[in-house]
């Protein structure tokens, strides 16, 4: 393996681009803070904090999806992902950073008593509202802060423990016994992360962070929907990094076969997302109860109509028709295009999930949204690039590495 480049070095161009994106983002952030954040108009403030909320939550969940990918493939005794597993690992190192930003934003919203965002913060309104009173055990500042702290903290810690274990595969060759114990410890740590992931992204956290903006409305599909959205974007992000590193001449052990399987995940989870999207939509459409249709009214028939259906075209029709063919999933250009499209589509999805509830009269998509997006993309590129330099790109003594090298779809 001497001839294989396993040490990533950040190219100058990548640094320039990420700093430029972060620069643009910071300018947008500061301008947004001055123009909207400190505005005397409550609605403008709400838009500013809402924009920060959906961007921070989206990028945290997308990066966290990488760790979930590692953990589930580990528990499934998967071998094929070993040749590029350092990429999702590097992406997941962004969880503590983006998590801290998310934490700061959410805590500011709650402690700063932004009741235009979280209606349940208004204790007077809650006292006179039987529905909100009934939810007060879940929707209250103390529970929110404790659960958010636990969520982000444990994602970071359990993910870090998983990555730490992965470094053992760089050090010494493993015999059968050592390898088996290594796999077993991996399985335990992956299981711990996955359980916590299920208790948070799989159920409570999207309800708490996002669905509670519509404090009266609820949908049990919501969390799964959010998970599907973030997981499919997470797989797209992994695909983009794999292709980028392939283009730079790294990852010689990763081939079209691996890309094909990543493409399958992108395809399958786009369908899964649509399944949840439709299940949520159709039940509410069919029952036609005002308490429930309130969520969709301004999205399907109001100002968000365009974004709502664009969302469905980008995230369902395009992956369905374009990624269906085997040759498409093995084509680097097409997968790159689809990955960018899917990440953008789900970013738009998060946009309408949060901003659709905060600004019902007007679509606010504009310079602030794209500015904050560029800030996060820049941070992601720089952070993941730096994390990639810290470890060899191939875990050369991993017991399953050979399985990955001979992987064939």
């Amino acid at each position: 393996m001497a001839s294989i480049k396993t040490q990533f070095e950040i190219p100058g161009k990548m640094k320039t681009w990420s700093y430029a994106l972060i620069g643009v983002g910071l300018v947008a952030l500061i301008a947004g803070l001055v123009i909207k954040g400190f505005s005397s108009d409550e609605h403008e403030q709400t838009i500013f904090w809402g924009t920060l909320m959906y961007n921070t939550i989206f990028w945290t969940l997308v990066c966290n999806a990488s760790m979930f990918f590692i953990c589930v493939t580990t528990m499934a005794m998967g071998g094929w992902q070993q040749s590029f597993r350092r990429i999702p690992e590097a992406i997941s190192t962004m969880v503590p950073i983006f998590g801290a930003i998310t934490f700061a934003v959410l805590i500011y919203v709650v402690v700063g008593h932004k009741h235009h965002i979280y209606h349940w913060l208004d204790s007077e309104a809650v006292a006179n509202d039987p529905i909100l009173k009934g939810k007060a055990g879940f929707l209250n500042p103390v529970f929110f802060i404790v659960w958010t702290t636990l969520t982000i903290g444990l994602w970071s810690i359990l993910g870090w423990r998983m990555r730490q274990l992965s470094s053992e595969a760089d050090e010494v060759p493993m015999d059968a016994e050592k390898g088996a114990s290594f796999i077993w410890r991996n399985t335990i740590r992956a299981a711990l992360f996955t359980v916590w992931f299920a208790l948070t992204v799989g159920s409570t956290v999207p309800w708490l962070w996002m669905m509670s903006i519509d404090a009266h409305w609820y949908s049990t599909m919501y969390s799964w929907y959010t998970f599907a959205s973030s997981f499919v974007s997470g797989m797209s992000l992994i695909a983009l990094w794999v292709i980028y590193l392939k283009n730079k001449g790294y990852l010689e052990l990763t081939s079209q076969e691996h890309l094909h399987d990543i493409g399958k995940f992108m395809f399958a989870f786009s369908i899964f997302w649509t399944y949840l999207w439709f299940s949520q939509y159709m039940l509410i459409w069919y029952a036609n109860i005002p308490e429930e249709t309130v969520y969709f009214k301004h999205r399907v028939q109001g100002p968000y109509k365009g974004i709502f259906f664009l969302n469905l075209i980008i995230n369902f029709l395009c992956p369905l028709l374009i990624l269906m063919k085997r040759s498409a999933k093995r084509n680097y250009t097409l997968v790159t295009f689809m990955a960018v499209l899917i990440i953008f589509g789900h970013w738009i999805d998060f946009y309408q999930m949060i901003m659709g509830s905060l600004s019902k009269e007007h679509v606010t998509l504009g310079w602030l949204d794209f500015g904050i997006l560029s800030l996060f993309v820049g941070m992601m590129i720089l952070g993941v690039g730096k994390a990639l330099t810290k470890k060899p790109l191939v875990p050369k003594y991993h017991p399953f590495l050979k399985e990955s090298v001979i992987h064939q779809v």
Binding site: F278, Y281, M282, Y286, R326, Q408
Partner: protein
């Protein structure tokens, strides 16, 4: 159905089979098929088989199911027998999506199973020649099609030198025919079978 002559070589190891396949192909012999007890990764590639078009057929069947369901249900509920169901519009697309989806899956699944059976020449009462019964147990059976010029003894020796544990020459129908196994009448002469 034309009767053809085949040289059969049996291998007991995948690792021996793969180089043998390569050598037989580069020597210019035509491999009729390789029968294995389980799916062997990469063997189709080594044999130079083209990509199956079963999934294209599946897509066509799926589209057929989608359009059948959509046209049928929309004709019934908007033209033939419009009903007011819960005050919904007659053209109630979301309510139909599950049915459209089910029919898409049904058409694709049934169509692909039938196409698969056709491509593999499987059907009730269809008989096929077994080149070696242990192909379903533990042997990898390579079957090479002979031409008029093939020297079967040379070929057998060639296979043995490449690791075949057993070789023989068989004359068999290469296609499929109707018949039943419980009344096992041979539709061809099979006297040339010689164990090596």
């Amino acid at each position: 159905m034309a009767k053809k002559k085949f040289v059969v070589g049996c291998f007991d190891d995948e690792a021996v089979l793969f180089p043998a396949v390569k050598k037989v192909r580069t020597s210019g012999y035509k491999i009729h098929d390789v029968y294995t007890p389980f799916a062997v990764h990469g063997l189709d590639h080594a044999l130079g088989l083209r990509e199956t078009s079963l999934h294209t057929a599946g897509f066509v069947y799926g589209i057929t199911g989608t359009s059948t369901a959509l046209s049928c249900i929309s004709w019934i509920f908007t033209r033939d027998w419009p009903l007011n169901i819960g005050g919904k519009p007659h053209f109630a697309l979301p309510a139909w999506v599950p049915i459209i989806f089910e029919l898409t899956v049904l058409f694709a699944a049934v169509g692909m199973v039938l196409t698969f059976c056709y491509l593999c020449q499987l059907a009730p009462f269809v008989k096929k020649h077994h080149f070696h019964p242990r192909a379903t147990d533990d042997l990898f059976v390579m079957v090479i099609e002979c031409t008029d010029k093939t020297n079967t003894d040379d070929l057998k020796a060639f296979l043995t030198s490449n690791g075949a544990v057993e070789t023989d020459v068989q004359v068999a129908e290469d296609g499929w025919w109707l018949g039943r196994y419980d009344k096992d009448e041979m539709p061809f002469e099979n006297k040339e079978i010689v164990a090596a």
